[in-house]
Amino acid sequence: MEENAKKKKLNIPRLVMLATGVLLALLVGIFALVLEAGKKSLTDQTLVNRWSDGKEFAQISLFISPSQYVTNDEIGLYRHEIESGYKTKGMVAAFEPETGNPNLMDAYMATTTMDLKGEYGSKTLDTFCVGGDFFLFHPVRLLSGNYFSEDDLMHDYILLDEEAAWDLFGGTDVAGKKVEWNDMELVVAGIYRRESGEIETLAAGNSEPKVFVSYDLFKYDPAKPAITSYELLAPNPIKNYATDVVNSITVFRMMP
C-alpha cells in the first residue's frame, strides 16, 4: 500500500527537469533563427563577397564633404582617373580579357528633399539621389517592382518605402503609378521595406520615410545636390592593389 502511494505521488523534481529541458531546446531553436536574421543586416558590406568571394575584388568607400560640391560631372572624372590608374599600373590580372578594361563597379549618392504628390496626398520626403550600380552595393528589400539603374533609358523612376507609398497613394501596390514633382511625373519603379543598416546612417539617420531617385534626374539642374559618398568595387589581384590605385590618383589624394 505504501509503495503504491509512493508511485501515485508526482515526481516533482523530474517534472521540473523535464520542463527545463524542453525550454532549453526551444531556446536553441530561437537562437538559431536570430542568428540567421542577423545575416540580413550585413548586406551593405558584403558586396565584395557576393561579387567574387572576396578574393579578387576590393570594396572602397569615400565619404565626401558637401562643401566640396561634387556632382555627376566629377564622377565622370573619377571613373576616367580610376581606369587610367589601373592602365598605368598595368597588372594584367586586373583587366577583363574580353574588353581589355578593368572590371569596375561604382555607386554614388547625394541627399536632398523632394515635394512629392501622389493620388492620395502630398509629402516632403528625404530623398537619396543615387547613381552607378547603387542597388548592387546597397540592395534594399523590394516588396514589389524593381530597382532602377543608370543604364536605363529613362531616368524618371522613383523607389518608395512602404510608409511613403501609404502617404502618397494610400497603399503599397503602386509600382507603375506616377508621382508629381516639379511639373514632372516620376514613375514608381518599386516599393521597398526599410531596414536598419548602413544606408540609414548615410542619410539623416532619422526614421522618416525615404525614397530613391536617379541622380540623373538632376543632370541638367544647375542646383544639383552634392554627392556625399562614392563607393568602388575594383579588381584587387594582390593585397592593397585597389587601394594603391585609388591613392595614386591626384583628385582623391587632394580630398580633405
Partner: protein, 558 residues
C-alpha cells in the same frame, strides 16, 4: 544478521536506487528534448530560410518607351489684330465657337479710330502752319528740288569768299592809308589841315558813284523790261508821269520808271556838283605855301583815294554780307517749306491708309476656324497691333514638343506609335512628326515634335506622352527585378523544386543570361538557357541568395 548490517545493506540498496532514478530522469529529459527538437526542427529550419517571391518566365512585348510632358500649342494660329484704338461695344463669339470668313467677332463703337481723328487734326495744323509761314515770307513755296546741300554749300562758299575778299581789301586800303598818313605826319604839321576836306571829297565822290550806279541800274532795268534806251525817252515819260499825277490818274510803270530816271539824273548832277565844290575847296587849301605842299598834296590825294577805296570795299563787304543773309534766309525758307510740304504729304498718305484700313463698326473673322481665345470684353479699348482674338484655322491642329536626351531620342523614329498617358484626354491621338536638335542644348538633347488631334485639347495645357517601339516581341521576358549580376556576368535565379518526404524543397538555381535585348519599366527581354513556360524566376528575397541555396516561398510562410 545484525541490525547494523541490515541497515548498511538497506542504505546501499537505497543509494543504488537513487542513482538509477537520476539516470532514468536524465534519459527521459534527453528523449524529451530530442522529441521536441525533432518535432520543431522543420519549423525552425523553415523560419531560417530566406523567403522569395517569384514570377513566371514568359514571352511578350517590351515597351521601350521615351516619356515626357509637353505644353499644347496651336499649329499656325491666326492672331486677329487691330491697328486702331477702338472701343468694343459687344463680343459676338466665345472660345470654342466655329466661325466662317466674314463672321462678326466684335462690334465697335463709332466709325473712326482715334488714330484717324488725330491724323486729320495734325494735318490741318500742318497746313495752317505752312500757309502762315508762306504769308510771313518765311517759306519759299514750290521749292522743288532746289534744296540741295551741295549747291547750298557751294553758294555759301562763294558768298563767304566775296565777304572775305571785301574785308581783305578794306584792311589793305586801311593799311595803305595809314602808311600815307604816317608819311604825311612825318612831313610835319602845317597849319593847313586838309584831311577833313579830303574826306569830304571822298564822300562826295562815293555819293556820285552811288548815284551813277542808280542811274545805270534804272537804265538797264528799262532796257530789260521795255527794250530801247531810256535816255531817249525819259523826258517824255516824265512829262507823262506828271500829267497823270496832276490828272489824278495812276501812272504806268514805264512812266514811273521814266520819272525815277529823271530824279536819278538830278541826283547825280547834284552829287557831281557837290563833288566839284569839295574838290575846289581842297584845291584852294592846297595853294598855301608849304615846302612840302606838293608832297603833301600828293599824299593827301593818295589818302583820299584810299579812303574812297575803303568806303567802296566796306560797302562791298556790307553788300556781300547782306547777300549772304538773304541767301541763307531764302534757302532756310526753301528747306522749311520742303519739310513742311513733306510732312503734309506724309499725313495725307497716312490718313488715306487709315481710311482704307478702317475697321468700320465691326471686326470680322478673316479666316474660318475655331475661336481659341478672346482677349477683350465689351467696354474695353483695343491698342494698335494688339491681338484681340486667336483662331485655330480649319485643317490646322495642335502640337506639343518634348525635350529628351540624345540617347533617348536615338531609340525612337518618326512615325513610332505614341501613347497619351493622361486618362482625361479621351479620344486624343498623337503622332511623332519630327526629331529636331534642342535649341537650348543641341549637343546633348533633342526635341521630339508631336502633332495632336482631338476635341479636348486646350492650348497651354499639359499633356504626357510616351513614344517608342511597342511592336517588339521577345520569346523570353522576365521581370527586371529578376536580373542579377556578379563578376561572371548577368544571371537569373530560377526556382527548382524537389519533392521530399512531408513536402517540397525549393532551391535557387542560377541560369546565366547571355544577352539582354531590351528593357522597359518593369520587364527585360533576355536570352538564357531556360524554357519560356513553366519556369519561375526569383524576383525578390528577404536577403541575398546564394546559388543552390534552399529557399521558401513567401506564400508558404504565410
Amino acid at each position: 544478521m545484525s541490525e547494523e548490517t541490515t541497515k548498511v545493506i538497506k542504505n546501499e540498496e537505497e543509494g543504488k536506487s537513487r542513482k538509477r532514478e537520476w539516470i532514468k530522469n536524465i534519459a527521459i529529459i534527453f528523449l524529451a528534448v530530442m522529441l521536441v527538437l525533432t518535432f520543431f526542427s522543420n519549423t525552425i529550419m523553415n523560419y531560417s530560410l530566406p523567403q522569395v517571391s517569384t514570377e513566371a518566365v514568359t514571352s511578350g512585348n517590351i515597351k521601350n518607351q521615351v516619356r515626357g510632358k509637353g505644353t499644347i500649342e496651336l499649329i499656325d494660329p491666326y492672331n486677329v489684330t487691330v491697328n486702331e484704338t477702338r472701343t468694343i461695344s459687344s463680343v459676338h463669339v466665345q472660345e470654342g465657337d466655329l466661325v466662317e470668313v466674314g463672321d462678326v467677332i466684335f462690334s465697335l463703337k463709332g466709325e473712326e479710330s482715334e488714330e484717324l481723328e488725330e491724323a486729320r487734326t495734325e494735318l490741318k495744323n500742318a497746313e495752317t502752319e505752312y500757309l502762315k509761314n508762306i504769308l510771313a515770307g518765311n517759306y519759299t513755296p514750290n521749292a522743288g528740288t532746289d534744296v540741295d546741300l551741295a549747291s547750298i554749300q557751294k553758294s555759301l562758299a562763294t558768298l563767304d569768299a566775296a565777304i572775305q575778299n571785301a574785308e581783305n581789301n578794306v584792311v589793305y586800303h586801311e593799311n595803305l592809308k595809314a602808311e600815307y598818313e604816317r608819311q604825311l605826319k612825318a612831313l610835319g604839321e602845317y597849319n593847313n589841315d586838309t584831311s577833313e576836306l579830303s574826306k569830304q571829297v571822298a564822300a562826295a565822290q562815293l555819293d556820285v558813284d552811288n548815284k551813277q550806279t542808280a542811274v545805270d541800274n534804272l537804265k538797264t532795268q528799262y532796257k530789260n523790261i521795255y527794250g530801247g534806251d531810256i535816255d531817249e525817252k525819259y523826258i517824255a515819260l516824265t512829262e507823262a508821269y506828271n500829267a497823270a499825277v496832276e490828272a489824278g490818274n495812276t501812272p504806268t510803270d514805264e512812266e514811273k520808271m521814266g520819272y525815277d530816271y529823271t530824279k536819278a539824273l538830278d541826283n547825280l548832277a547834284k552829287a557831281n556838283k557837290t563833288l566839284a565844290e569839295k574838290k575846289y575847296n581842297l584845291e584852294i587849301a592846297g595853294y598855301n605855301t608849304d615846302p612840302n605842299a606838293t608832297k603833301k598834296k600828293e599824299l593827301n590825294t593818295a589818302i583820299t583815294n584810299e579812303e574812297y577805296q575803303i568806303l567802296i570795299w566796306e560797302k562791298a563787304q556790307k553788300d556781300a554780307e547782306d547777300n549772304r543773309s538773304e541767301y541763307v534766309k531764302e534757302m532756310t525758307g526753301k528747306i522749311d517749306a520742303a519739310a513742311a510740304s513733306e510732312k503734309i504729304t506724309a499725313l495725307q498718305e497716312k490718313i488715306a491708309k487709315l481710311e482704307k484700313d478702317a475697321l468700320g463698326s465691326e471686326i470680322t473673322a478673316p479666316v474660318a476656324g475655331k475661336i481659341v481665345s478672346v482677349s477683350k470684353v465689351a467696354g474695353e479699348s483695343t491698342e494698335p497691333k494688339e491681338t484681340v482674338c486667336v483662331i485655330q484655322m480649319e485643317g490646322k491642329g495642335y502640337r506639343t514638343t518634348i525635350s529628351v536626351e540624345s540617347k533617348q531620342a536615338s531609340t525612337v523614329r518618326v512615325g513610332d506609335e505614341v501613347t497619351i498617358e493622361d486618362y482625361f484626354y479621351y479620344g486624343v491621338t498623337a503622332n511623332l512628326v519630327a526629331i529636331q536638335p534642342d535649341k537650348e542644348d543641341p549637343k546633348n538633347k533633342k526635341t521630339l515634335v508631336f502633332d495632336l488631334n482631338g476635341e479636348d485639347l486646350v492650348p497651354g495645357g499639359q499633356i504626357s506622352l510616351a513614344v517608342g517601339d511597342m511592336n517588339s516581341y521577345y520569346n523570353l521576358t522576365v521581370p527586371k527585378s529578376a536580373l542579377r549580376q556578379d563578376n561572371k556576368g548577368d544571371y537569373i535565379l530560377i526556382l527548382e523544386s524537389k519533392s521530399v518526404p512531408f513536402g517540397t524543397r525549393y532551391l535557387a538555381k542560377r541560369v546565366d543570361v547571355t544577352q539582354i535585348y531590351a528593357t522597359d519599366d518593369f520587364s527585360a527581354a533576355i536570352e538564357a538557357n531556360v524554357e519560356p513556360w513553366g519556369v519561375y524566376v526569383i524576383t525578390n528575397a528577404t536577403r541575398p541568395l546564394k546559388v543552390g541555396e534552399q529557399v521558401r516561398l513567401a506564400e508558404e510562410a504565410k
